[in-house]
Symmetry: C2
Subunit: 197 residues, 2 copies
C-alpha cells in the first residue's frame, strides 16, 4: 500500500472529484468578484447567473462548506452573525479552470408547461386558455425586462461575455412569445358561457 489515507478520511475531504456546474459557477464568481460571504454570494449569483442557472441559498451554503473541506476555498473567521468570508485557493482556481476547459454538459430540459399542453384535452373548457394566458404574460414581462437590462448593460459598457448570456435569454423569450402567438386558436378559447352548474 502506497497510501496511508483510509476511506473514512477520503469521504470527508475528497479533493479529487470533479466539480459540478453549480460549484464551478460559484468558484468562478468568487474568483471574479473577490472574496465574500454566503449571503453576498447568493445575491451575486442571483443577479449574474440567475437568469439561466437556478439555485437556492441553502445549496450555496452547502457547496461552500463542501468546497472548503475539499480545499478549494478557505473560510475566514466568523463575524457576529456567524457569516464567514470565503476565498478561492490555488486548488480551487485550478479545479475551476479544469471544469471550464472540459466543456459544459448538454442541457436537460424541464418544461412543465408542455406536459400541461400535451394533456390539454383533459382540461375543463377554458382552463387551458387561462393557464396559457398567465404564462404568456409572465414571459412577455420577462422579455421586456431583459431588453431593458440589455440597453442598460450597453450603456454602462459591460463586456461581450455577459451580454452574450443575456442575448440568449432574449432570443429564448422571443421564441416563447412567438410559440404562444402561433398556438391553435381553439387552445385560447375562454369558457364563454360561464357554464352553469
Amino acid at each position: 500500500m502506497l497510501s496511508t489515507v483510509d476511506n473514512a478520511m477520503l469521504s470527508t475531504m475528497d479533493s479529487q472529484r470533479g466539480l459540478n456546474a453549480t460549484e464551478a459557477a460559484l468558484l468562478g464568481l468568487l474568483r471574479e468578484e473577490g472574496p465574500m460571504a454566503g449571503s453576498q454570494l447568493a445575491q451575486t449569483a442571483q443577479t449574474v447567473i440567475g437568469e439561466y442557472w437556478n439555485l437556492t441559498r441553502s445549496q450555496i451554503y452547502r457547496e461552500l462548506t463542501a468546497l472548503t473541506s475539499g480545499g478549494f476555498l478557505t473560510a475566514g473567521p466568523p463575524d457576529p452573525r456567524r457569516s464567514r468570508v470565503y476565498t478561492v485557493t490555488a486548488a480551487g482556481e485550478a479545479a475551476f479552470l479544469e471544469w471550464l476547459q472540459a466543456g459544459p454538459a448538454d442541457m436537460t430540459p424541464r418544461l412543465p408547461l408542455l406536459i400541461t399542453v400535451l394533456f390539454g384535452a383533459d382540461l375543463p373548457p377554458g382552463r387551458l386558455a387561462e393557464i396559457l394566458d398567465e404564462h404568456e404574460r409572465r414571459h412577455r414581462d420577462r422579455l421586456a425586462e431583459y431588453r431593458a437590462l440589455d440597453a442598460e448593460l450597453i450603456r454602462i459598457g459591460v463586456g461581450p461575455y455577459v451580454r452574450a448570456t443575456l442575448a440568449f435569454g432574449i432570443r429564448f423569450e422571443e421564441a416563447v412569445s412567438r410559440w404562444f402567438a402561433e398556438l391553435p386558436a381553439e387552445f385560447r378559447q375562454r369558457d364563454a358561457g360561464g357554464g352553469g352548474g
Copy 2:
C-alpha cells in the same frame, strides 16, 4: 382523536400528497396509452415527452412503486422477467386531473453552456470556439430532426396538442441557432497558430 391511522402507516401509504410533474406525466401516459410495464413506459416516455422532460429508467421504476403504494396505480402479477403491468386507478385518474387543473410550475432554467460562455475569457485561445462549434452542431441536428418529425406527424394526422409541444421544440432550436449565429466573431476564432508548447 378521530383517526386511528398512525404516522408510521401514513409514511408507507401517503395517499394525500400532491403529485410532481414527473408523476403526473407518467400517470397521464399510462392513462392515455393503456396499462404497461416499467420498461415499456420508459420507452414511451422517452418518445412522447423526452424532448422537453428529462427522466431516467430508474426514476420511472421508483415512481411506479411509490404511485402504487399510494393507491394511484395497481400492479399486475410479475411475468418471468419479474416485470409487472401497471394500471391507473380511479384515485390515480383523479390525482392526475387535479395536477393538470392546478396548472404547471414555471420552468427552472439550467443551461451549463451559458456558464461556460460567461467565463469564456478564462479559456485558452480557440477552446471557446471549439465548444461553441460542437454545441451548435448538436442543436442544428436536433432542429433538423424536429422538422422531419413534424412533417411526419402531420402526415399521419396526429392531434394539435402533441404538435404544439413539438412546435415549442422547433421554435426553441431556431432561437438557439440564431443566437449562435449572432455571437461576436471573436468568440468563434480558432487557435490560428497552433501555439508552440
